[in-house]
């Protein structure tokens, strides 16, 4: 890609200033977790679906570690 992209110059010269401003002005994000699992058509996962996915992943990692003779911390 030819690098002729526009340069955006923010109002802040450092991240420290920007973060400070953001902390003071950010709109609280009150929506629940918006995790979307692959193959679900873009639908946010319910907490139960997400936790089932994470539990399955964790079990698979532990199984693979055992098979490899490792121990997960």
């Amino acid at each position: 890609m030819a690098d002729d992209r526009k340069i955006l110059e923010p109002r802040f010269s450092t991240w420290e200033e920007w973060d400070e401003w953001t902390n003071a002005h950010a709109v609280p994000d009150t929506e629940p977790n918006q995790t979307v699992l692959m193959g679900t058509g873009g639908r946010p996962a319910t907490r139960e679906e997400l936790e089932a996915y994470l539990a399955e992943h964790k079990a698979r990692m532990e199984r693979e570690a055992r098979e490899a003779g490792l121990e997960l911390g």
């Binding site: 955006l8 991240w15 973060d19």
Partner: protein, 182 residues
């Protein structure tokens, strides 16, 4: 479920970690909108990485360096990031020591049939955010607006008027391909 407050923002540290691990990504979401002048912001950092095994491994390493964990789930499921876990989610949410990071496989670009704009497309017409001596790719304002129009959640609908106004103002200020470039 753990619902503790996120740590104070330190987005410079997050972006420095991404750079150290040579992660390829484009900024999207609220911070990207803010880079164009939007005042309505949330505190997380949304990024759309190149969706390759290698790049997701690099991303997982960067997030682990930042003590990243899955957020808003039961404590025993607050897993550290790894490439397969990231790859299994279109959108995943991580809490790091520098603030919350959302990892997106793409952002909506067409409603029916459903299509998303991925890293490569977003990079193609991205802009560059220059700050703290670092240059960070940012999705185009058009892509951000389109994604919010399609996502159509209440917070997207709230954000759209300001973003459309910013786009109009930028068009007025910029002759094609010139304007605010330096």
């Amino acid at each position: 479920m753990s619902e503790e407050e996120p740590p104070p923002l330190d987005r410079g540290r997050i972006l420095a970690a991404l750079e150290r691990h040579e992660v390829r990504y484009v900024l999207v979401g609220g911070l990207a909108a803010q880079a164009y002048g939007a005042l309505r912001v949330t505190k997380d950092l949304d990024l759309c990485p190149q969706w390759s095994d290698r790049n997701l491994q690099l991303l997982a390493s960067a997030l682990r360096e930042l003590d990243g964990r899955y957020k808003n789930v039961a404590d025993h499921l607050r897993l550290p990031p790894d490439a397969r876990l990231i790859a299994g989610q279109e959108i995943g949410s991580w809490r790091t020591s520098g603030g919350d990071v959302d990892v997106l496989n793409g952002i909506p670009r067409q409603r029916t049939p459903r299509r998303v704009a991925r890293y490569e497309q977003l990079l193609e017409d991205s802009a560059v955010l220059a700050i703290d001596g670092r240059e960070i790719p940012v999705a185009s304002l058009d892509a951000i607006i389109r994604s919010k129009e399609i996502a159509d959640r209440p917070k997207d609908r709230d954000a759209l008027p300001e973003l459309r106004d910013l786009r109009e103002r930028r068009r007025e200020l910029e002759p094609p391909d010139l304007g605010l470039e330096r």
